[in-house]
């Protein structure tokens, strides 16, 4: 019993165990819900719902929000579930972070200013969110679900996600730091 429990309370698993688990999970989402694991559309829906609260009807009239439909659906619940699942895993393994604003790799290069880190995170988030919808998917929808279906659009996207990411990360850490 102790060994079974310790599997769940250990902070991390082999990346292969986690990856195989995600692969098996993708079988289940296809078989039971008829849908692939995907994330970034839900952020776009959330942004439309927020605009709807602030600006009313105008948001619903935007062609993009009409296309993706602003309502709570399977995928939005999936994204909510990711937050909960990660929280559960972090809590039971004693890895839940309290008061951490600045990741250590960032702090080593750019210091421990929370404000600087948050400003850069907002900027990065804007580029990421825009790029995810531009590309029609993210590291989940294209990078895992699309590539495992051998989709051409997803293989191209996944390769260029990493080309863009690797070049940018090296520029940031080699030249700015």
């Amino acid at each position: 019993m102790e060994t079974i429990a310790s599997v769940f309370t250990s902070t991390s698993w082999s990346p292969y165990a986690a990856g195989i688990g995600i692969g098996v999970l993708s079988w289940l989402t296809f078989l039971i819900s008829g849908k692939p694991i995907a994330i970034s559309t839900s952020f776009a829906q959330a942004s439309g719902m927020i605009e709807g609260v602030i600006a009313g009807e105008k948001a619903r009239q935007r062609p993009y929000y009409k296309k993706i439909k602003l309502r709570i659906n399977w995928q939005l619940m999936l994204v909510l579930g990711v937050v909960i699942g990660s929280f559960l895993s972090a809590i039971i393994s004693g890895d839940f972070q309290v008061g951490v604003w600045v990741p250590s790799l960032w702090a080593a290069a750019f210091g421990d200013s929370a404000l600087l880190r948050v400003i850069v995170a907002v900027a990065g988030g804007i580029i990421l969110g825009f790029g995810a919808r531009f590309a029609g998917g993210c590291t989940s929808g294209h990078g895992i679900s699309g590539t495992l279906q051998l989709s051409v659009s997803s293989w191209i996207s996944a390769i260029f996600f990493f080309i863009g990411g690797i070049i940018t990360a090296h520029l940031i850490f080699k030249f700015i730091a």
Binding site: I22, I50, M77, S86, L88, A123, L148, S154, F161
Partner: protein
Amino acid sequence: MNKENIESNKDVVTVKRDLLFGLGFGILFGFLLHKGGVTKYDVIVGQLLLIDFTVVKVMLSAVATGMIGIYFMKSMGWIKLSLKGGSVGMNVIGALIFGVGFAVLGYCPGTIAGAIGNGYLDAIVGGLAGILMGTWIFAVMYPKLKDGILKKGDFGDITLPRLFKLNEWVVVVPAFALIVLLLFWIESTGF
């Protein structure tokens, strides 16, 4: 209760069941992302700096496992593929923009949801707000983009087997073998 009411009740039950499955699958996905270590900035940016290969290991083992099962279930007629259409504009330009954001933020949309659950405040306060703004900007610009750059070099929702006019398994089996070999090679280099 008349027939119409019964029908609409059935719909409500189906929708609720669908949403609950979404939530449950999400909880499992988030749990696995955290256990895989990829809800952390250091791990993700470590991958992009090519000093930590956790992200690639998680992704490629998920893809290899998923691919075998999905194509098996497809050949049994149990499931249908769910493919995204694409174009050079979307999947090269858009993906490069995504890559820049990926490195600047240090999380992607799925892993930031995981990072939020993990308690990282830069993800909750900074990254989440940024992603919502970024997707909103895209929605605002969409009417201008949709018939321009998003259509540049359109190739539709094809798969690699269809592109090369090959039997699915002639692609699936070598792709699986290549991924496994690549992972063995990464391990052998000590990463």
